[in-house]
């Protein structure tokens, strides 16, 4: 049993119901979950299994219909809109499938966007160096490849020194060689920053680089595996 002070996330009986007219969609049907500090967790599952909904609630982007989620000593399910914003700002780094960079800002400026509002940020060039993009700092997103854009997004996510790094299909739009580079960047910053990292993916091959793998199906966690030996991203067969 891990030490209680080591727990970053704790969810109990988490449910989410989307209502559209008379139709009710149960996206989450009672999730119990814990994550430790610095843990690298891969979340697998088919489309519609509830993994993105789970990540969004844990990341403070969406609200649960029932149950509780705790981040350290904060009960996320009890926070209002403004407090959730503050939570994202101070503690969470996001990486998304489509990068969501600001097209009018250069790589360096996209990172600065976050360092300017964070409480204990690292320097923007430091974050870019962590993902190996120090040479492309003055390029606009439109001038970067998809993999490079995603690495900028990772640099932007970690520049605030977040406690948690949440990644939704970070390699979904990338070919395998580029995907591996992105995963390398993620594992490296996970080690360097010590942020608890949750990565959603369709790609089961990625499971081997995680400390722990969770599988979602039909709004429930149906399987949980702990990897005793972690592979390097470069060793993963795609």
């Amino acid at each position: 049993m891990p030490d209680a002070s080591d727990i970053v996330f704790r969810a109990t009986g988490l449910t989410k119901v989307y209502r559209s007219g008379a139709l009710e969609v149960h996206a989450l049907r009672g999730i119990d979950f814990q994550a430790r500090k610095g843990e690298f967790i891969v979340i697998l599952g088919p489309s519609g299994s509830g993994k993105s909904t789970f990540l969004n609630i844990v990341g403070g982007l969406d609200r649960a219909s029932g149950g509780q989620v705790w981040f350290e000593e904060h009960q996320l399910t009890a926070l209002d809109e403004g407090q959730l914003t503050q939570y994202r700002r101070d503690h969470v780094g996001f990486v998304f499938q489509f990068y969501n960079l600001v097209p009018s800002l250069t790589a360096h400026e996209n990172v600065q966007l976050v360092t300017e509002i964070a409480r204990h940020p690292m320097r923007a060039d430091e974050a870019l160096a962590l993902v190996g993009l120090q040479d492309r700092a003055n390029h606009f997103p439109a001038q970067l490849s998809g993999g490079e854009q995603q690495r900028v997004a990772i640099a932007r996510a970690i520049a605030k020194n977040p406690e948690v790094l949440l990644c939704d299909e970070p390699t979904g739009a990338l070919d395998s060689a580029t995907g591996i580079k992105v995963l390398e960047a993620l594992t490296q910053v996970n080690r360097a920053v010590g942020a608890t990292t949750l990565v959603i993916t369709h790609n089961a091959a990625i499971r081997d680089i995680a400390d722990r793998v969770i599988r979602f199906a039909d709004g429930r966690i149906v399987e949980e595996t702990v990897n005793t030996v972690k592979k390097q991203p470069s060793e993963v067969a795609w």
Partner: protein, 786 residues
């Protein structure tokens, strides 16, 4: 009926984008309304006037004489070009109404002869019996102000004699459409009325048996008025003629002309501004819509719709917006037109004033508006035609931004969100510039509508508090010996009395001439002063003449030049005088001399035409009563009454005018700012939602969008001030005439108020868009590719 799918899409787009559509339609509507209002009022006023003049045989030439025998009329009628001539008696009298303390005057005019000129339009009752000595017809406004009607008595002083006259009717005349009493600045129907009486009665009252004091002439079509006036002046010279005038200088006609000129200026300035701004808005909005529907356009083309059909689809969208605008504009134009007609009814007395609802005008307004909207759409639609379907269906190439202006960033110490604002604004320079220009136009319209307040204040200050500082002025019927000053001094309540002499003269210089009254004042006048350019009072020169700047400009005279002065009274001598200095002044044209020097020129001894007085307020009523009964008094004018009437009239009309202009400017500002922000939000919604995900608060995210708005609105202010200043200067120049000159003064508060109103309108737009920013869907943007 089957509606084609594309038509159905047009209707759905209109409903979906209703707020933007309405904002554009309102700007178009403002253009339509001002076009209809301005043109309609212009047409209505000028046509009504022309018709009224024609029906009532309004004269072309007017001349006053002291006293001329009726036999002269035959000679006048013989002048080549004269179709008809009528001799009249026109004399001032004083009102003696019980319960009316302040002085009022009436102008007695002999009744037009049967088939004569300046015929009356009888509104109530009947015309007087030509043989009845005490029957009269009074002017409509005057009758209304005093609630007089047929059968009532009107007590007056005629030539110093008190009489009770019986009103038989109430009438209007083309000669007094704008009924301005002598010495008045604004029509005041309570203190001035026109009284038409049978000739015989006036002959008796003013000792003019077999004589007349005024001539009106109707000219044959094509006759040269200048030549007729010249011939007429030669005939009337012996009888105290002071120079005939054409219609252009007839007071009522000239004021109507000034109003028509102002309307014409409005028609030329306002509608083009609205149509230009609307065209820019159409362009902005349609360009964005087409960008968003790029894939749909590709699809439509791919499945076989022609480029023309797709382009037509977007043009139809714009045409429907224009139709909405035209509909609102028609309604607003018609409504404002009837409001304006009511204002005219207060100022101008017409027997009828129809606000024309000329279908041609409405048709023209609609066509011009549709053309402006389509012109705005053309550029955007061209891109639809040029887009090949295969290209359209693939995602657009990413927007390229450039890094520049790093110094601006350092200078302003911009954060990254600030950099976003700057880069986005610079990425679409045409849109940024046209939105800035649009907002600037709103500021300019307000500056152009607000500046006259400052000018009027300046006019009042200079005219009444620095120049004409007397409380009252008494004008004698005929010049009196100098000792009349002492009589005036002895009247109750009079604290200071200062004489003046007034002589009609024609001043000429190198072929240019002007007939006006030269005013003789004491060497160091205290009550009625002329001012130099620094607004300091000027002493009257012992020799020489002070001309007002406006007159000097007309005659092209500079100080030191010699002018020829032909006196139009007394011995009518002609002398050459030196222009010793120029003075400033806004009312009429002015020429001043020292009173002694003027009397020496006249050679009739020390005479005065009247006195300027300073009155003890507490004894004003006593003074009025005494002044009225002094036999020599022809006219008493009271500065405070004139000024309060002036201010009250302006206040009434200005409230209406300013409300209309504030609404118009608000429509532009809201229309531009709202559309600009909707487009900016549509383009950057994804980025802004991403910022929310990153932990930016709603306020910070709104700040990015509002930063863009604020930049546009702020840049627009100085530009708007500049454009507004230019329009105002042109207005001031076009308003100035011989009647008055409009000083061009734009007070600082005009700029401040204009900017405040426009910023308030921008805030309203920002407020309207705030909800959309707060409801940005964070999860949606994460799932979709741009």
């Amino acid at each position: 009926m089957v509606i084609s799918p594309l038509r159905r899409k047009v209707l759905r787009d209109l409903r979906r984008l209703w707020a933007q559509v309405l904002a554009i339609a309102l700007v178009l509507a403002a253009g339509v309304a001002t076009l209809i209002l301005g043109n309609g009022a212009y047409a209505s006023l000028s046509e009504t006037r022309a018709h009224y003049y024609d029906q009532n045989r309004f004269a072309d030439v007017f001349a006053d004489v002291t006293r001329a025998p009726r036999a002269l009329l035959g000679e006048v009628a013989e002048i080549e070009g004269v179709l008809d001539a009528e001799a009249r008696i026109v004399k001032l009298g004083l009102l003696d109404l019980p319960g009316m303390v302040e002085p009022g005057s009436v102008l007695f005019v002999s009744l037009p002869e049967t088939g004569g000129l300046n015929r009356l339009y009888l509104r109530q009752g009947r015309l007087p019996d030509p043989l009845a000595a005490r029957e009269i017809v009074v002017s409509d406004g005057f009758a209304a102000a005093h609630r007089l009607g047929p059968g009532d008595l009107l007590p007056v002083l005629m030539n110093g004699q008190r009489r009770d006259l019986t009103i038989t009717g109430v009438a209007l005349s083309p000669e007094f459409i704008y009924a301005l009493g002598p010495g008045q600045m604004m029509p005041d129907p309570r203190r001035f009325g026109v009284v038409w009486a049978p000739r015989s009665a006036l002959e008796a009252a003013y000792d003019l048996d077999g004589a007349f004091s005024n001539l009106v002439l109707k000219l044959a079509p094509g006759a040269n008025p200048d030549r007729v006036i010249e011939a007429l002046d030669r005939l009337t010279e012996r009888y105290g003629g002071v120079g005939a005038t054409g219609r252009a200088d007839q007071i009522s006609h000239a004021f109507l002309d000034a109003e028509l000129q102002a309307l014409w200026a409005m028609v030329r300035v306002l509608p083009p501004i609205f149509l230009l701004v609307a065209a820019m808005l159409v362009n902005m909005t349609l360009s964005r819509l087409i960008t968003l529907e790029r894939e749909q356009i590709g699809l439509l083309k791919a499945i076989g719709y022609s480029s023309r059909a797709v382009a037509q689809h977007y043009v139809e969208f714009v045409l429907l917006i224009a139709v909405v605008g035209i509909g609102i504009g028609f309604a607003a134009g018609a409504w404002l037109g009837s409001e304006l007609a009511q204002i005219y009814a207060r100022f101008f007395t017409f027997p009828y004033l129809v606000f024309t609802r000329d279908p041609q005008l409405y048709g023209l307004a609609a066509v011009i508006t549709l053309a402006a909207a389509v012109a705005g759409a053309l550029y955007a639609v061209r891109s639809v035609v040029k887009l090949p379907p295969a290209v359209a269906m693939s995602p657009p190439s990413p927007v390229v931004y450039r890094k520049r202006g790093a110094w601006v960033r350092r200078l302003l110490n911009l954060r990254q969100t600030g950099v976003m604002v700057a880069r986005h604004l610079m990425r679409w320079p045409f849109r940024t510039a046209s939105s800035t220009l649009g907002v600037a136009m709103a500021v300019a319209i307000l500056v152009a509508s607000l500046w006259p307040f400052g000018s009027i204040d300046r006019m009042i200050d200079v005219t009444f508090f620095r120049s004409e500082r007397h409380d009252a002025q008494i004008v004698f019927g005929t010049p009196e010996p100098l000792r009349a000053v002492f009589a005036a001094q002895d009247m109750p309540g009079v604290m200071v009395a200062e004489p003046f002499r007034q002589v009609a003269a024609t001043i000429s210089h190198r072929g240019r001439e002007k007939t006006l009254a030269i005013i003789g004042r004491p060497a160091e006048p205290r009550l009625s002063r002329v001012l130099d350019a620094g607004l300091r009072p000027m002493p009257m020169p012992q020799a020489g003449l002070i001309l007002s700047e406006a007159l000097a400009k007309t005659l092209q005279v500079r100080p030191g030049d010699q002018v020829t002065v032909a006196l139009q009274e007394g011995r009518r001598s002609t002398v050459t005088l030196r222009v010793s200095a120029l003075s400033v002044g806004y009312m009429g044209l002015g020429a001043a001399m020292e009173i002694g020097a003027l009397n020496r020129l006249m050679g009739e001894g020390a005479l005065i035409s009247g006195v300027n007085l300073m009155i003890d307020d507490a004894r004003a009523a006593e003074f009025y009563a005494a002044a009225r009964t002094t036999p020599k008094t022809e006219l008493i004018s009271v500065t405070s009454l004139m000024l309060s009437r002036f201010r009250a009239t302006l206040a009434e009309n200005i409230t209406v005018m300013v409300t209309v202009y504030v609404v118009l400017a608000g429509i532009i500002a809201i229309g531009v700012v709202y559309n600009f922000s909707r487009i900016a939000l549509s383009e950057q919604g994804r980025e802004l939602a991403s910022l929310r995900v990153l932990g930016f608060t709603n306020r910070e995210v709104s700040g990015v969008l509002f930063g863009e708005l604020a930049t546009v609105v702020l840049l627009a202010q100085p530009l708007g001030w500049l454009i507004g200043y230019g329009i105002s200067a042109a207005m001031a120049a076009s308003f100035s005439s011989d009647l008055y000159r409009v000083p061009f003064v734009v007070e600082r508060d005009v700029f401040a108020i204009a900017s405040l109103v426009v910023c308030a309108a921008a805030l309203v737009s920002a407020w309207a868009i705030r909800g959309r920013i707060n409801n940005l869907d964070m999860i949606e943007v994460l799932k979709t590719r741009e």
